[in-house]
């Protein structure tokens, strides 16, 4: 399979000179099993360009089929969908998978297209759209690919996906905070809590269980894509934002025995030079600690070929 990054940024798209090498589009990753329909993870603004590229294939003739796995519906993971050209062509089939919410998923996605916000309602999309609601732990097949998922530690809850196909596995873990300090659910956390206060035993147990789920999901993965929006110092100032940092991603990678770790979901104001420095620093750390996985930092256009040729 091939894995290609179309959007690597967190929170909000950031056009401009200082982000032009890594890219300013929000989260979107394409997984292309060999000889099969593309599987897309998240629908940030990177999806617009991916859609244009798909229109050069069978999607341009209304004969395309794709599945979009949504980690969660925060704007930076869905805002590209109204600009996904294949939706405007009759005959294309688009399957959207996301975690179950209070409202039916189609209603959640319709909101983004409501008339105060966008000129074209979701119901006017010409493609056949199908919504699939997931619960954590769901396992399902997309063609020859096996998909599994587990819960992440993020406000209003996100899920991680593992896609196994062509003798390889890619795991996408965004967005998540470390599995310590705060257990995220549905409440709004106004200010950063003290990180030195011990947590109640039941909260610690739930976090430990969630972390074990992520480690199991990432077990021996060929590629782990991980939310590293923060540096560890930034995390300590904003633990209540629900994002992680490279030290945590490295610890998870080590426990899961992954082959490659790719830093992802870069903070909006993180410049290309900052990203270079973070990557250089942690490549050194990984080398010093004798870890065997490769470390990379996601940029738009980065592509991996994994598994059977």
């Amino acid at each position: 399979m091939k894995v290609r990054f179309w959007g690597v940024r967190g929170s909000i798209p950031v056009p401009g000179r200082s982000t032009s090498r890594y890219g300013g589009n929000t989260s979107c990753v394409e997984v292309r099993p060999r000889g099969a329909a593309p599987i897309i993870i998240d629908a940030g603004t990177g999806l617009r360009r991916l859609g244009k590229s798909l229109m050069e294939e069978s999607f341009g003739d209304g004969k395309g089929k794709t599945s979009i796995l949504i980690s969660h519906t925060h704007w930076d993971h869905v805002q590209g969908l109204p600009f996904f050209s294949p939706l405007y062509r009759a005959g294309n089939q688009v399957h959207i998978f996301a975690r179950q919410r209070d409202m039916h998923l189609e209603a959640v996605f319709s909101q983004q297209h409501d008339s105060p916000y966008f000129p074209v309602p979701l119901s006017a999309m010409h493609a056949d759209m199908h919504f699939h609601e997931l619960i954590e732990g769901a396992r399902f097949d997309i063609g020859k690919a096996r998909v599994t998922c587990t819960r992440l530690n993020h406000p209003w809850i996100a899920i991680a996906y593992r896609i196994e196909v062509d003798g390889a596995a890619v795991v996408y873990c965004a967005d998540t905070a470390p599995f310590a300090d705060i257990l995220f659910g549905r409440e709004f956390i106004v200010t950063a809590p003290s990180l030195d206060q011990p947590l109640p035993a039941d909260v610690l147990a739930e976090l430990a269980q969630m972390r074990a789920g992520v480690v199991a999901l990432a077990k021996n993965a060929d590629l782990l894509i991980y939310d590293t929006q923060f540096t560890i110092d930034e995390y300590r100032l904003r633990p209540h934002w629900g994002h992680s940092h490279p030290d945590d991603a490295i610890a998870i990678s080590r426990d899961a025995g992954v082959k490659r770790l790719c830093l992802f979901h870069h903070a909006p104001l993180r410049s290309d030079d900052d990203n270079d420095a973070i990557l250089a620093k942690y490549r050194h750390v990984v080398q010093q600690q004798g870890d065997r996985f490769e470390l990379a930092s996601a940029y738009e256009g980065l592509e991996y070929t994994l598994g059977d040729e």
Binding site: R9, S11, I12, P13, V14, P15, G16, R17, T19, S20, G23, G24, N25, T45, R48, T73, H74, W75, V78, Q79, G80, P82, F83, R101, M103, V108, Q111, Q112, D114, S115, P116, Y117, F118, P119, P155, W156, R186, F188, V190, W241, G242, P268, L269, E300
Partner: protein, 285 residues
């Protein structure tokens, strides 16, 4: 007054090496009156960058006061709000004037953007700054930041948007983004020309080249040709091109600016100065 461009792009932010010179952020313009104060027009992603520059001043201490004018509530005109640093500092106060027959209607729309399914902020009420949302009266001048502002509703595809005319000591700035009938235009109406008339600066929607507009009429945007025609008819001094389509590269915009210049000259607007809006640039009015 001084105006500054923070986001000049239409529909969706367009990051990439090919949009660096004009910028890829969505609509946001600031107006700085001579006597102080701040007016922000539209809250596209450019708003985040404006917000960060305000932090060394009163907005960083929770003592900032500002006025926000909203042309309409499509995503590319409101999506910067949750990333505007001054709203997280208690004490700052904003008055938002936008479309709608009641402030309640507009506040509900802004609240929808913060819905917990979509935003970790979960509600406008979680923003620390004070917000007073008001429905901008159309055709009736109101005062904000010591300046006189008049709003006017125009067609934007199947819906409408507001244009604003801002006057300071007889000098006027007109902001008219997202302008277009869903069908082939017969040219500007006398009412439109009157609203833009003799403006020192007319910022006008130039989303498309005429050839691209022809296949996308229903989207409700202007071409540079439309802007040149109305600017000439209204005898404005300067025309600012704005809200470029997300697919246009910097080279495309260069070429559109050259074509817009030719269009102005062809329609009798040789005296009109043409300014293609670029992120980070300022105009003195």
């Amino acid at each position: 007054m001084k105006i500054r461009f923070w986001g000049v792009r239409g529909s969706i932010p367009a990051p990439g090496p090919e949009t660096i010179r004009y910028g890829g952020n969505t609509a946001c313009v600031s107006v700085h009156p001579k006597a102080g104060g701040l007016i922000i027009i539209d809250m596209g992603t450019g708003l985040m960058h404006l917000g960060n520059t305000l932090l060394p001043g009163p907005f960083g201490k929770g003592a900032g006061r500002g006025t926000i004018l909203l042309s309409h509530t499509h995503w590319d005109h409101i999506q910067g709000l949750g990333f505007f640093a001054p709203v997280f500092i208690p004490g700052n106060q904003f008055t938002v004037w936008g479309p709608g027959t009641s402030p309640n209607f507009l506040e509900e729309i802004l609240e929808g953007q913060m819905d917990p399914n979509f935003s970790p902020l979960q509600s406008l009420k979680n923003l620390a700054a004070g917000f007073q949302v008001r429905a901008a009266p159309c055709g009736e001048p109101f005062e904000a930041e010591g300046l006189t502002i008049t709003a006017r509703e125009h067609a934007h595809g199947a819906t409408t948007a507001l244009a604003f005319r801002i006057v300071e000591d007889g000098r006027s700035f007109v902001y008219a983004s997202d302008v277009g009938q869903p069908f082939a235009d017969t040219g500007p109406t006398p009412e439109t020309i009157a609203f833009f008339a003799d403006a020192d600066v007319l910022l006008h929607d130039t989303t498309y080249r005429p050839v691209d507009q022809a296949t996308r009429r229903n989207r409700g945007f202007s071409s540079y040709e439309d802007a040149a025609i109305v600017a000439t008819a209204a005898r404005v001094r300067r025309l600012v091109m704005f809200h470029y389509d997300q697919d246009y590269t910097d080279d495309d915009v260069d070429e559109m600016a050259a074509s817009c210049r030719s269009a102005l000259d062809a329609h009798g607007g040789t005296a009109i100065e043409l300014v293609p809006a670029r992120e980070g640039e300022e105009l003195e009015i």
